[in-house]
């Protein structure tokens, strides 16, 4: 793989489910090496389907997905919306899972498991069970499990969506730091404009279902991200731009409410009488 060659290229990819639902429609996208690509779109626009297609967990109905390097394809890290841990296994055994399935002995895998746990700041919790951890710590375990294979590409499906804001901010900073330190290529699915802009080196906006790439915007910001970036003019401008792109993708006006907490940011206006597509807050 040469510099600049996309890690993975999707060309005219469509995905229809047996129920007849068309989740993605002729979507084309290149994931560049080393970028942190934020995939932003409304609920149900096919973001998770797109991630599952890239991971090879489902097949496209039409179109092609080409990897520049099969080694990268075979060493993917995947983080789900929920921590998705084995409740019967201790933290270290959850993290060890990909190595164990690859046939690596406990002795061989011990150092790498320790490193991955250190990376996510969970030293001292190796022998704990998932139920003994907080939501944020469980998500860290999930991240450590994805990192233990030393992946070149990390796929993340709204991993911080169910966390409280303080934990989410901390994990976002940690992810941005890991991305820079390890030179990872990350595809990060989110429905939050703020999160997509804070984390992403590029934000790709998907249209409502069936999902297609509606817009793409590069984000200029410090690497790694620092908390001060959240209050910078560049960040707020990028958020406005991305919100406008999202609004255009949804083909109806949206107003951006920049709340001090940085919480819900997209407030669609109430639908006019007779307007069938208004679904309230997204």
């Amino acid at each position: 793989m040469t510099a600049g060659t996309p890690v993975v290229s999707l060309r005219e990819v469509s995905k229809a489910y047996p129920s007849g639902t068309l989740a993605l429609d002729r979507l084309s996208l290149d994931v560049e090496p080393g970028e942190l690509l934020s995939l932003l779109g409304p609920s149900g626009c096919g973001k998770s389907t797109l991630l599952r297609l890239i991971a090879g967990l489902t097949e496209p109905s039409s179109g092609s997905i080409a990897w520049a390097d099969t080694a990268a394809q075979n060493r993917l890290g995947f983080v789900f919306q929920e921590p998705t841990l084995m409740p019967w296994a201790r933290v270290e055994d959850n993290v060890r899972l990909p190595l164990m399935l690859a046939g690596m002995s406990r002795g061989e895998s011990g150092r790498r498991v320790g490193e991955a746990i250190t990376h996510v700041g969970l030293e001292g919790f190796e022998r704990a069970y998932p139920r003994e951890l907080s939501g944020g710590m469980r998500m860290r375990v999930s991240l450590a499990r994805a990192l233990v294979l030393r992946p070149r590409v990390l796929l993340m499906d709204e991993p911080f969506a169910s966390l409280d804001e303080i934990t989410r901010f901390r994990l976002e900073s940690d992810l941005a730091d890991l991305h820079r330190r390890q030179g990872l290529t990350v595809v990060f699915v989110t429905h939050s404009v703020f999160e997509s802009v804070y984390l992403g080196t590029r934000v790709v906006v998907l249209s409502p279902r069936p999902g297609r790439v509606a817009a793409s915007r590069r984000i200029e910001g410090p690497a790694p991200r620092v908390e001060a970036f959240r209050t910078s003019t560049a960040y707020l401008e990028a958020c406005r731009d991305v919100s406008a792109l999202l609004a255009a993708a949804m083909e109806r006006p949206l107003t951006l409410a920049l709340s001090p907490s940085g919480g819900e940011g997209i407030e669609p206006p109430l639908p006019r009488e007779g307007e069938g597509r208004g679904e309230g807050r997204r």
Binding site: L57, W88, Y129
Partner: protein
């Protein structure tokens, strides 16, 4: 306050107190109404009979428990293996599961005479009868557990290239363990009931007779306290089996499964 939040001493004391009150009321009514022992013996007389007839009752208890234990072990092993087989292919499950249901819903008292007629070795006939009653909860619970695995974890195993065997060993079986143990708890009691019902139908006598025969025999001889003593031993055995299986469940799941985690009040 649920049983999980109750202090351990109250968890034992509360049912013991209710039991003592009920036994006290029973004994009082029997004495107050002067009910003859051949109609309804009091708990004290039953306890005395357990002690005095221990030489007769204990060997019968051992026979019944041996049939129960054998039926339970066979149910656990076959139930688990069949459940694994069913979940390997929807075709196998669709082809065989209806027959498992038929075996479960057919009354044991209706088919036990046939089984005892066909199988000449009575202990084996009793074992089959008890197994027929006991295996279904293990099978259906384990199938449910094996097919209820977290979809994301299944995807994760696929993503990391897990073989069918690895997915079964490291994911599906541990995920199904609470369901399997739940099935065992039901199965343990049913194995005892199946063994006793089969003994009733078989009506066997001699040295290898179980507690059901002792109940029949005592009924014929109007030794009602002994009949109650045998019933008491069957109930006590059932409670012991349930307690042992609950302990096993707590041992296996206590660290991680919601059903067994001790919570602070």
């Amino acid at each position: 306050m649920t049983s999980h939040t109750m202090r351990p001493k109250y968890r034992v004391l509360a049912p013991a107190l209710i039991g003592l009150l009920a036994l006290g009321a029973w004994e009082s009514i029997v004495r107050w109404q002067e009910i003859p022992p051949y109609i309804l013996p009091g708990p004290i007389l039953i306890a005395r009979t357990v002690v005095s007839d221990w030489g007769t009752l204990f060997p019968s208890l051992v026979v019944t428990l041996a049939i129960t234990a054998a039926a339970f072990v066979v149910s656990a092993v076959l139930g688990l293996l069949l459940a694994i087989l069913f979940t390997q292919s929807p075709w196998i499950e669709r082809a065989l599961f209806p027959y498992a249901v038929i075996l479960q819903v057919t009354p044991l008292v209706a088919i036990a005479p046939l089984i005892i007629l066909w199988i000449k070795w009575i202990p084996l006939a009793l074992l089959i009868c008890a197994w027929l009653v006991a295996f279904f909860p293990v099978l259906s619970n384990t199938v449910l557990g094996l097919t209820s695995t977290d979809r994301n974890l299944v995807d994760l195993f696929r993503l990391y290239g897990a073989s069918r065997w690895q997915a079964l060993r490291y994911l599906r079986l541990p995920a199904a363990l609470p369901y399997f143990l739940g099935g065992l708890r039901i199965s343990g009691g049913l194995a005892l009931i199946g063994a006793v019902v089969a003994e009733f139908v078989a009506g066997t006598g001699g040295a290898q007779s179980g507690l059901a025969f002792r109940i029949l025999e005592a009924g014929y001889q109007l030794q009602i306290p002994r009949m109650f003593a045998a019933v008491f031993l069957i109930s006590a055995a059932g409670v012991l089996i349930f307690a042992l299986l609950t302990g096993l469940s707590r041992l296996a799941l206590g660290r991680w499964h919601e059903s067994e985690i001790e919570r602070e009040a």
